[in-house]
Symmetry: D2
Subunit: 94 residues, 4 copies
């Protein structure tokens, strides 16, 4: 099982990512904006495929042309390396 990262470890990990914020040691999140709804839905599908591949599933919120993603590892009760890795993957498919 992936170990829970401390808030400081999450901060350090996010410094290597682009546009992700943290809610203490509980979850990391990023809001993506696209030109329109169609492009946003295409992105959600790429994220869903990455999530299925990684067997790790983000919370996704779609509001018209924006997609908000929250990542946490439920069985660790916080953020783990799995969340950071999936965030990196998601950024590659923006």
């Amino acid at each position: 099982m992936a170990n829970k990262l401390s808030a400081a470890e999450v901060t350090a990990a996010l410094s290597e990512l682009d546009g992700w914020d943290q809610e203490s040691d509980q979850f990391i999140m990023r809001k993506f904006s696209f030109g329109d709804h169609i492009t946003a839905v295409g992105f959600v599908n790429r994220v869903a495929l990455l999530a299925e591949k990684a067997d790790h599933h983000p919370d996704l919120r779609i509001v018209y042309n924006t997609v908000e993603i929250k990542l946490t590892t439920h069985d660790a009760n916080g953020v783990t390396q799995k969340d950071v890795d999936l965030a990196k993957q998601i950024d590659r498919y923006t």
Copy 2:
């Protein structure tokens, strides 16, 4: 432009639908649960297609195997017949 429905009109409209709730006259919402994430994502895609066809876009929140949908008509500042019609369509594609 679609006219805003009163809270009572929304209540009456929802009585014909299955599982939808209202937040006064502001929006209607329903939470759908599926067997797994894959089925939930398939549903989200059907909803996205219906929304594009209707040119009316719900707020969608996906948490693993659940999908929460909120409908409102922004330019009417509340719920209109467009929201009720899209909710009916969505129910047909569950």
Copy 3:
């Protein structure tokens, strides 16, 4: 109903598009290649949304990281302006 274009009219229309070929006056087609399967599926979803919006549906073939699209207008028994318009839209969402 959209009128069927002659083979010469199709050729003229395609000269304004990027990478589309024609099979005489019967259909137009383009093959798209992406970095991987995930990106290809994201594209297919954007195309499906555009198609639903236009109420005009291409034939889609997905083979790993490639997507082949064929457009024709069945009730005109050939290519019409609807096909050319949807091709333009698809190119914008590549």
Copy 4:
């Protein structure tokens, strides 16, 4: 690596599945029909997610409300147990 099945082994495996045909020992295929295009696209997304999870990718052809799926294992130059397993999964998500 998965071993290639003989044509007879493929026939035996398909007898446990529903609606799949074989092209000798080269590939297995099934054509699915749905009520409309929206439902067909929702199905394609479920298949894409299953494929990504299994790291095994079918050829998919979408023609309005039908989806034709072909499965083969390229590096075995024919049908393997991986194809049969994915076919079973796909049937569960129809």
